[in-house]
Amino acid sequence: MTEISKKPGEFTRSLVGHPVKVKLTSNIEYRGILISLDGHLNVVLEDTEEYVGGSLKNKLGDTFIRGNNLLYISPMTRKK
């Protein structure tokens, strides 16, 4: 297993370019490729899919998500 950084900032930066799951406090989940993020945890995702209650609700393309709405960012293994 590859070494995972102990610093949150380094960890999130290491996810750039990879598929991630972003959950918001409203329990809505966004899945897509992490393009960039900043200190506020503002996030940009590519090929974004909106999941509400586990089911796909919307496809949004490139999406900027304002950091204050975030609950977590988690790496995702792509299902085929």
């Binding site: 960039s36 900043d38 940009v44 949004l60 393309g61 900027f64």
Partner: protein, 110 residues
């Protein structure tokens, strides 16, 4: 004095609109200036309009905007959720940043 001024303006001028390396989330939004965007807001509100401007708080200025408000009511008799939508249009609208959940940018023609 002049040095301070340089720092304040450099971040804007250094970013060519066509750059491939997008470093910050806000740069991605900057690329969408002048295009029609979809903005999701708190309180089941959505906006579609042409992006005129924004700032670091995500205060947003849209023109030719259409606002969609989704009302969700719970019917205690049938145990069903009743949703209804109302739309409003405005020539120009300013949105306070703290209400913004996301800004979706249309695919750029490659």
């Amino acid at each position: 004095m002049s040095e301070k001024h340089e720092i304040a303006t450099s971040s804007i001028q250094k970013e060519p609109a066509y750059t491939e390396a997008i470093r910050q989330p806000l740069d991605t939004v900057r690329l969408a200036l002048g295009e029609r965007v979809y903005v999701k807001l708190r309180g089941e509100r959505e906006l579609r309009g042409k992006l005129h401007g924004f700032d670091q708080h995500m205060n947003i200025l849209l023109s030719d905007a259409e606002e969609t408000i989704t009302h969700i009511k719970f019917d205690p008799v049938t145990n069903e959720e009743i949703t209804s939508k109302t739309t409003k249009t405005s020539e120009m609208i300013f949105v306070r940043g703290d209400l913004v959940i996301l800004v979706s940018i249309p695919r750029r023609a490659a």
